[in-house]
């Protein structure tokens, strides 16, 4: 009897083990099914021409379906290490989604401020938080400067420096 019981235990464990393996494999497949499609991942670059930008006028471009804010700073706006210098001009380049819950803030040119209507968050012209709930400044996307143009989605030297300095996530 004892031998028989051991054999049954072994069969039970073997069955359990195979079931667990199959279960894990199925979970992996389910996880992959929910991953973004390759076509979505590939649509990752937007090239924006900065030569037409006017000071203190917000331009909204699109990258990966998200709004990208480009703001050419006017001379009276204060300097900030977060700004991007292209030629002689200073720019704010950031993802135009409030870091609280993802709404799009609107720009108020007279106050040089971004205000998010949904939860009352406010950012300055460099994307820094002036009023919570947003926990962090507006996120700067990977970008690369090519003359008067900027490519969003590719990490250039300027972006790597900003990131290394902890100025964006």
């Amino acid at each position: 009897m004892a031998i028989k019981k051991e054999r049954r235990d072994f069969l039970g464990m073997a069955l359990g083990g195979f079931t667990a393996l199959g279960g894990i494999a199925a979970l992996g497949a389910a996880k992959r099914t929910w991953d973004p499609l390759p076509s979505v991942m590939a649509a990752g670059y937007s090239t924006i021409d900065l030569s037409a930008a006017k000071p203190n006028v917000l331009n909204v471009e699109k990258w990966r379906g998200k709004p990208i804010f480009i703001l050419k700073k006017s001379p009276d706006m204060k300097k900030d290490p977060r700004e991007v210098i292209v030629g002689d001009n200073r720019y704010l380049i950031c993802i135009g989604l409030c870091t609280h819950l993802g709404c799009i803030p609107s720009y108020f040119p007279k106050e040089h401020k971004f205000k998010c209507a949904c939860h009352g968050g406010q950012f300055d012209a460099s994307g820094r938080v002036l009023k919570s709930p947003p926990p962090i400044p507006l996120v700067i996307p990977p970008f690369k400067i090519e003359g008067e143009k900027v490519v969003i989605g590719e990490a250039g030297e300027e972006y790597k420096k900003l990131k290394a300095d902890g100025l964006t996530v």
């Binding site: 996880k31 929910w34 991953d35 973004p36 499609l37 979505v40 909204v60 699109k62 990966r64 379906g65 998200k66 709004p67 870091t99 609280h100 819950l101 993802g102 709404c103 799009i104 209507a117 949904c118 939860h119 009352g120 919570s132 709930p133 947003p134 926990p135 996530v169």
Partner: protein, 407 residues
């Protein structure tokens, strides 16, 4: 195999094979209901009927709805509303029922809290009910996405963003849930799947569980009286119906249920035919636009109170408070430490607690709809903090409650 005899009727034929008489006894004619319960106990039946209305109207809407970001808005607002014969009727029934069902759920919940129907022996009724509430909330949210209007899109954006869990910054998880960087086709289709298959199945399974939890402890009554159902049902079956404290579910109690249901349906179809717009947000009649946020984002009225708990705090504490509000009701049977099963008005500090809770939730609902500016944010923060304090105080105030009637 059991022994079968030649059937004398269709009923007998079925009875031999399916024991339909026994099933009917267990579920209906010998399912005992206390006599001393009021119309608030009919809310369960009203919910079952409303769920049925949602299911049927949903099936009709499904025949013309298109889960595609380019087609969804027009398939609802043009095809179903003006081309499909009586399409507007199903949509109005579906939209009104989706809103009204939450009103009834809240009444049902607060009836349970007021009369102590979640206490010793009835914990599973309460827990299964709260699980049903959470699943139903998911069902409502996923359904709200489908017309792909501005509020659908931005509510989807905001709610999925919650999964980055604040400081943890799990952006990869958010993108995985959406199947894209922003809500898109993948997002719409998976919420469509959740809304029409997975969550309704879960809701139906939980409804069965919720009914099953009633079987042994039975429903509570207006006085919180402990009834010996075996003894009282024997009295009833022996013909002493007048002195028995219980009645049959079918058709004795059902007749009362149906009267209340009748009043409800008058109210319901009044809304469907004359005031359907109360269930529909005007902003959601603008097609979704990923580059434009509505000036003021708010959920449907039934989620405003939890939304207001999330909103006024900074991101991380806000998420913690929101999480707290989502789960705390489930623990009610264990947080209320008084042994008394009695209506709130016969209990001590709990009476005040109950009305304060209700008032706090109504206040949160009002602030949730108002724009988050100036004093509203301050009042919102205070009320949301007060809500949390109320729950933290519950074990203390109920511990000192005096037992009623020397029990």
């Amino acid at each position: 195999m059991a022994h079968f005899t030649k059937a004398t009727s269709v009923h007998d034929w079925l009875n031999q094979r399916l024991a339909i008489d026994s099933v009917r006894k267990v579920l209906a004619t010998e399912y005992w209901i206390p006599k001393n319960i009021n119309f608030l106990w009919a809310m369960g039946m009203i919910l079952a009927v409303t769920f049925g209305l949602l299911l049927i109207s949903g099936i009709f809407l499904l025949m013309y709805y298109k889960p595609d970001t380019k087609l969804a808005f027009d398939s609802v607002n043009y095809t179903i509303m003006s081309q499909v014969g009586y399409g507007w009727l199903w949509r109005h029934i579906h939209a009104v029922a989706a809103s009204v069902v939450f009103l009834i759920i809240y009444i049902h919940m607060f009836t349970g809290i007021y009369y102590g129907s979640y206490k010793k022996g009835r914990e599973m009724i309460w827990i299964s009910g709260m699980l049903l509430f959470v699943t139903f909330s998911g069902e409502a949210f996923s359904g709200y996405m489908l017309p792909w209007g501005q509020m659908s899109y931005w509510a989807g954006m905001v709610i999925t963003d919650i999964f980055s869990l604040g400081a943890l910054h799990l952006d990869g998880l958010v993108e995985w849930i959406r199947g894209n960087f922003v809500p898109g086709d993948a997002f719409l289709n998976r919420f469509f799947m959740l809304h029409v298959v997975l969550l309704p199945l879960a809701v139906m399974a939980l409804i069965v569980l919720h009914f099953a939890t009633l079987r042994i402890p039975h429903v509570n009554n207006q006085d919180g009286e402990e009834i010996d159902f075996k003894e009282e049902s024997q009295k009833y079956l022996s013909g002493n119906t007048k002195n028995s404290k219980v009645i049959r579910f079918q058709f004795d109690f059902l007749s009362k249920d149906i009267v209340v249901l009748g009043f409800f349906l008058i109210f319901f179809f009044y809304l469907v035919f004359y005031h359907f717009e109360f269930a529909m947000d005007p902003v959601n009649f603008d097609p979704a636009d990923g580059l434009k946020t509505p000036t003021h984002i708010y959920p449907e009225w039934y989620f405003l109170w939890t939304y207001e708990i999330l909103r006024p705090f900074p991101k991380n504490p806000g998420l913690l408070a929101f999480g707290f509000a989502q789960v705390i009701f489930i623990f009610l049977p264990f947080l209320d430490r008084s042994p008394n099963v009695a209506p709130a008005n016969k209990r001590g500090a709990f009476k005040i607690w109950f009305w304060l809770l209700l008032l706090t939730m109504v206040t949160l609902t009002i602030f949730g709809k108002l724009p988050p500016e100036g004093v509203f944010t301050t009042y919102g923060t205070i009320t949301a903090s007060f809500f949390i304090l109320l729950w933290l105080s519950l074990p203390i105030i109920t511990k000192f409650e005096k037992p009623i009637g020397g029990k």
